[in-house]
């Protein structure tokens, strides 16, 4: 179990290797990588600024990860979330889970992502032609979260 909140980019391949290095008991590794898209609401965006709440962010991510480990049979997990100004195509977030069973690895990764979307203290501002626009929280993300309760 490990979380990082950082401005720097990350290497998904290296993270997967680190998760399973030297182990022969893992059956399934699932990764989710979130990327900055070049369009939002049908309009092009020049960049995405991620603001966060230092201190609380790390705590929230650790809590989400611990909850996933309590609910599913995980052998390892990793969360990396970036902040700062990112351009389209850039990696924003990585969630990786390892389990003996594929179902656990998939569900835990989806659960963590659903929590990150509406319970981790990050706020996104899209750079658009008419200035910046704060991204609104989506009802669909709240609904996605509710399916786990």
């Amino acid at each position: 179990m490990s979380v990082s909140v950082q401005a720097d980019d990350f290497d998904v391949g290296a993270e997967i290797i680190a998760l399973s290095a030297g182990r022969t008991d893992i059956g399934a590794v699932v990764t989710f990588t979130g990327l900055v898209r070049d369009m939002a609401g049908g309009k092009p965006i020049s960049d995405m600024e991620l603001e966060h709440y230092p201190g609380m962010t790390e705590k929230a991510l650790e809590k989400i990860e611990a909850e996933a480990n309590a609910r599913w049979d995980l052998q390892a997990s990793r969360i990396i979330h970036r902040y700062g100004k990112l351009t389209p195509g850039a990696q924003i977030v990585l969630v990786a889970t390892a389990s003996p069973h594929r179902g656990d690895a998939f569900e835990a990764a989806e659960f963590i992502m659903d929590f990150l979307k509406s319970r981790a203290p990050f706020w996104k501002k899209e750079g658009t032609a008419d200035g910046g626009k704060w991204v609104d929280a989506r009802d669909a993300d709240e609904d996605a979260l509710n399916r786990w309760s």
């Binding site: 709440y53 981790a120 609104d136």
Partner: protein
């Protein structure tokens, strides 16, 4: 004395990311009412409380929560991580 933090458009509307606030407010709602009475920028930032979330000492909480013993209060819009 309490440190109050603002994030995203709440921060932009209020104009500062954090400030020390001298208050005797008992609950978060009391504190919000007090801030709104101060200046228009606070009144504007807190005009739609359905769009405001609060954390007390870095834990998500709600408007009716007590501020007893709390050192850090943060106000922000719904989170959009991931």
């Amino acid at each position: 004395m309490m440190q109050v933090l603002y994030f995203a458009w709440v921060r932009e509307r209020i104009g500062v990311p954090r400030e020390d606030v001298e208050t005797s407010a008992q609950t978060v709602a009391d504190l919000v009412a007090e801030l709104r009475g101060r200046e228009e920028r606070y009144d504007l930032a807190f005009s739609d409380m359905s769009a405001i979330r609060v954390a007390l000492d870095q834990e998500l909480s709600d408007m009716s929560a007590s501020l007893a013993g709390v050192r850090e209060v943060a106000f922000f819009p719904p989170m959009t991580g991931g």
